[in-house]
Structures are given as C-alpha cells and as structure tokens.
Symmetry: C2
C-alpha cells in the first residue's frame, strides 16, 4: 500500500505537511490525504498544528504519534544490565543501569529484568503491555535452532536448549529479538556514530573479550551460523595456537587481561586494570608506552586480516579499550597498517558512543522493527476500525 510509504516518510521528515509529503513520495495530494486519514484512524499519526509564516494558506502539520509504540532495549553486559524504554519516535522516556549480582540463574535474571521493566514503564507513563518489541544484546551467539546462547561463558545456564525463550517474560510476552552485543554496537555506530552513511564498515570491540560487528550495505552481516566477526580466534602473536584453545589467540594477547598481563611481565607494578596502563602511558611511563605499542601492533595485525578479507571503508574501535585508549591507539595502529595492507588503509576511528553503543544499537534495531510491527498491526485492523 501507499500508506507504508507515507508512514516511512513522516518518520524521515518529522513534522510534515501534506504538500511536503506529496513532494517527497511523488504521490498526488488526494492520495496523501487519503493515506493520512487512514493512518490517523489507525492512531499511528496525529495532526500537530498549523504552520504559518509561509505565504499562502497555513499547512496542517502531521507527526508520528509517539505513543503508538514502545521499544525496550536491554544490554545484558558482564557487570551491568542497562535498559532503555523509548517511544516510537525514539525519544528515551526511561533509562536504568543496574549492576549485576553475578551468577544468577536465567530465571532470576529474567525476573529482575521484568521488575525493572515494570518500573521503567511506570516512569514513562506507559504500561508493560504497551511495549511493541524488546531487543536484547547479549554476549555469545544466539542459536535460533535451539533457542540457546553459545560461547557466552558469562551467562551460565543460557547455553541450555530453550533458555532464550525465557526472555519473552521480560515484557509480558511481547515480541523480542536477541542479538549479539557487539553486532548491536556496530548497528549503533551505523545509526548514531561514525558509521552513519558508510556502506561497509566493521566495529572491532576490544574489552574483556574481543569481537567484531560487520555492516555490509548498511545491514548487519551475521554469517551462516551467526558467528561472523568472531575474531578472537584469529592467529595473531607468538606462541602455539593450541595453548590458547578455547579462548582464542587474539583475545588472549589483545584483550584487557592481555594488556595487564603484558604490563606486569614487563615490570610494571600495581597494575590491576588496562585503564591503569593507559593512564600511565598518558603520564609518560615508558613501559606503558611499550605495552601500548605492542597492543597497537597486535590490533593492527588482526585488522590487516580483516581488511584483506572485507576491504571496509571504515573500522571503528569500540569496547573498553577502544573507548579508554582509542585516541592513543588510532595513530600507531594506522601507521602499522600502512606496512601490512596492499591498497589504501581504510579510516580507523575510535567510537564516540562509549558504553552506550550496545544500547543505542539495540534501540536502532528495535525502532525500525517496531515501526513495521506497529504499522502491520494497525493496518490489519483498519477495515474494521
């Protein structure tokens, strides 16, 4: 139908008049009026007032009715659970970061998420039943065959068949999507970060673990098993690959733990986190400098492989290390890549989204999906209403 095109256009343009819609969609005025009447009956859009100031008659402006749908985004991280509830236009009405207790069973986690969701809905002046769609960002790989999470050691119990289906209980049975957290961060980068308007890019996530989200033609690429971008297993650095089985070579040398281990090995004292090393480097500590140089070298070698395969236009560094030390790493990594890459080195940038990347990505996916859902549902019952 034509209503779909009009609906999509209103999202793109915000407050908009009929003639503007006609212009944008290429449809005629009567068609636009008809479509708007239907959309208004379906309570998807609403008139917002007159725009005066231009010559001629004042135009009646329409906008999406924000309360036509609600999206809940949930980032299930290692230490925190983050939630955001937004209306259909994407304005976040309620937000919460909650430290995780650790070692919860799936049931316990779902129960606490459900409680938080109720609180958020209250705060937003909505009810849990109004939630159109929930998007969960989790570590590991969501195996849809068995509804379980693989390769997610920090979520014990979720590797069991059917465990993922428990998440339906968070928002009273509303539809939900489960996506890898790094993949969501990549989508967040594409929607709100440096990936805007870039067709092909990769987000490399370096933190406690290492992963990569790949965006091709503006859409997430997951691979055949949903394991695309699992670069923690890239053969990088010295040593027998078999020694590090199960964790991945790149991950063991380049992750936060790897940075701390190397710093300690080189003689730094009192280092308990990667951030300590970066702070020391900023203060001019020569050992920390060497650690950083080694880290940049490892990252560059990993990126060389990624670039050879994918030839992206842009690589964004995210995750704990990307956020904390991105500014220190971009330069050396780019320099090192010049020696490793055949053609032009793609842009390398540090993510500006910080710890919000996953949640923002979840919201971006959720909003586009929710818009389709809401439209489908409303149009299905249009003839009756």
């Amino acid at each position: 139908m034509n209503e779909r095109a009009v609906f999509a256009e209103i999202f793109k343009l915000g407050k908009v008049s009929r003639p503007e819609l006609a212009q944008a969609t290429g449809l005629s005025k009567p068609t636009i009026s008809m479509a708007l009447a239907d959309l208004e009956r379906a309570r998807l859009v609403r008139p917002i007032g007159l725009r005066t100031g231009n010559a001629g008659r004042a135009a009646l402006l329409y906008e999406i009715r924000p309360q036509a749908g609600w999206v809940l985004a949930v980032d299930i991280g290692r230490e925190f659970v983050r939630l955001a509830l937004a209306d259909l236009v994407g304005d976040i009405a309620a937000r919460r970061d909650e430290p995780r207790k650790g070692g919860e069973t799936p049931d316990e986690l779902v129960a606490s998420l459900a409680e938080l969701t109720r609180e958020l809905a209250d705060e937003a002046g909505a009810s849990v039943g109004d939630i159109t769609l929930t998007v969960f960002g989790t570590p590991g790989i969501h195996d849809k065959e068995t509804s379980s999470l693989q390769l997610a050691p920090n979520l014990p119990g979720w590797e069991r068949t059917g465990a993922v289906e428990l998440l339906a209980g968070v928002a009273a049975g509303a539809p939900y999507v489960v996506e890898n957290d790094v993949d969501l961060a990549a989508l967040g980068e594409g929607a709100y970060g440096y990936g805007q308007g870039v067709a092909h890019f990769a987000l490399v996530w370096i933190g406690t673990g290492i992963g990569m989200g790949i965006v091709i033609d503006g859409r997430l690429y997951r691979g055949a098993q949903g394991a695309a971008g699992e670069i923690s297993y890239l053969p990088v650095g010295e040593g027998d690959p078999l020694v590090n089985r199960g964790r991945g070579m790149l991950e063991s040398v380049a992750s936060a733990d790897g940075v701390v281990a190397l710093a300690t090995r080189l003689g730094m004292r009192g280092v308990t986190s990667a951030k300590d090393v970066f702070d020391a480097a900023r203060a001019g500590d020569p050992i920390a400098d060497r650690v950083l140089a080694t880290e940049a070298d490892h990252i560059a070698h990993a990126l060389a492989g990624v670039i050879a395969v994918l030839d992206p236009e842009l690589v964004v560094l995210g995750g704990g290390i990307g956020v904390q030390a991105g500014d220190l790493l971009i330069g050396p990594v780019t320099d090192c890549l010049r020696d490793l890459v055949a053609l032009r080195v793609p842009m390398i940038r540090a993510s500006g989204l910080g710890t919000e990347a996953v949640l923002l990505g979840a919201m971006a996916v959720g909003l586009t999906t929710a818009r389709d859902l809401v439209f489908e549902r409303a149009v299905a019952q249009l003839p009756a209403g």
Copy 2:
C-alpha cells in the same frame, strides 16, 4: 510492469504455457495473455508449439527468443585468453581458447580480442553489433574512478588511467563489465558449481597467485575499494612480513611457486611445477607428502582467518592448485581447521568447474545483466512498435 515478472519467469521455467505462468506469477490468465502479447511484439519471446498429451486442450508453449540478445564472456588469463559467445538463454554458440603472446600492449590485446570476437560472431551466425553485453574477467582490481587496473602485474599498460575504456572496442561499443577473475569464478561457482543455493560462501583461488571471491546473500561482495578477498596479504607462515612486501605473505608460501620452492628446499629433484609435486605425492613420494601437508597447513591457517571473519557456509577451493590437488588437500585442511575454528567448520570442497570457472562466472553475470538490458531496451520502444 507485469511483463518483467512474466519475462523472468519464462527464463526460470524454460518452455512454458500460459496457465503455468499464471500459476507461477500469481497473475490471472488474461493478464498473462496481455503480457505475452507485448513480449512477443517486442520480439523477446516466441511461441514454440503445442504441448499435447495432457487432458484437455493443448497448451501453446512460449520460450525466450534466444537471438534476442548475445553475451560475450572473456577471461583474460595469464597464459590464455578464453572467449565464449552465448545467446540470451545461455547456450554457448561459439567458444575459443587462444594462447597469449605475452607482453602485448593494451591496444594489441584489444585488437586481437576484437578479431576473435568477429570470428565467434560469424561462427554463431550473429554479428558483432548484436552483442548485448561483454563481461571481462581480469586479474587485479578494476578502479572505476580512473578506468584502470590495479595490482595486475601481468597486464602491463592497463594500470594507466583510461586503459580499461579500450575494452569497449572489443565488441563494437556494446556495454561491457570488467570484473576481477576470482570474483567471477566465485559467481560461476554460485551459478553452476557447489555454490548453488548457498547464501554465503567464499571461493579461495590458489594458483600462480592467491585470491578470494566472496558471495554474500547470493551476491558478490566487492568491498569499499573492490579489494575484498585480497587474501594474498594475510599474515600466515613464518618470516618477517616486510621481506615479502608487495607480494603478500600467504601468496609467497602457498601459491604454486611456493609449493615448488618448498619441494626443492626439502630435497626433491626435477620439480618445475606444482603439478609435479602433486603427481609425486599421488605416487607415494614422502617428501611430496610433507610438502602437501605443509601446504594444507598454510591454507588451513589462512582459512581460519577467513572463517573467523566471514563465517561462511561453504568454502570452495579453486584455481590451479585447487583443481589439481583439491582431492588431496580437502581432508588435511578440514582436519587442521577443526583445531583452529571455534564453532562448526564450514564445508570445504574442491571446485568442479576447473579452468572454466571464470568464464562461466562471466557468463552468469552477463546473462542476468543482459536480460535486464534487453528487456529495458525492448520495453522502451514498445509503445511505438
């Protein structure tokens, strides 16, 4: 329009009756009749006769008019130039393999290709002017900005700005497409080989050089600069990466030259080509076995990186080494990958298309593009005719 759907369906089904088309497209019988009348007036399809045998009235069968378009596929290889001329349904009407003189200038090469094209057109009972589209497969990367070929040392002179435009002269100014040969081989594998029906796969080409073609969602993925899959630069094997600058580490250890070099280093005598080594291995030569094992190991390590990034459903080995030694390599490579890959190892197969892969891929691209071209052209002048 609806004619497009009907046209596409006839390609898929071959000889087909109106009721079958109605069934397949979901359109009604009168609509099909109308569309067929238009297509016939445009000389895109033709009635081919009655099908009797079924109960009821005999159905009039229609098919694509093969002479409605011609596609020329050209594989510009290192030692040979291969050409094939096919009609719009894909039947190859004329075929030619010509050894290259070596060291030709672009003008000389184009002139000899143009002469061969004339001969092929004669053989096929067509004229050069009938050719709808030409597809060229070349080594290196086609830079569309400058109309030149990069990273193609075997095609001297083609790195100059505008050189690629000379190719228009091969088939009297008909539209043409220039694509990397390995990428075309991947598309060939997708259209006629093991890649049929596989959404995400990679074709790894190992011969004199090394490359990879990536198919994602059934379509070729080229990357931002057209350099996706240039895996010759993957950091694999021992040694200083800088030593092998310009050639790529993987390429220097795993290509045909690399195999010969390793065999000689390990003490084999009289080895001049990789094929000698494989023949010896088949005859039970222990040194050749070791060379093969090493080769399998190198390939597996390279594939481990590719798989970690792309998570393909299938990896096909092609090119000289893939074709000659695919059967010997598949086993050891797969075994080795089990130790290097986190999740399930994708299928690894040796291409069955042999030296035809590039040409078949060029033909596959050419046919789909030519169908669109022919349709567009014919429908544009329909109102008049």
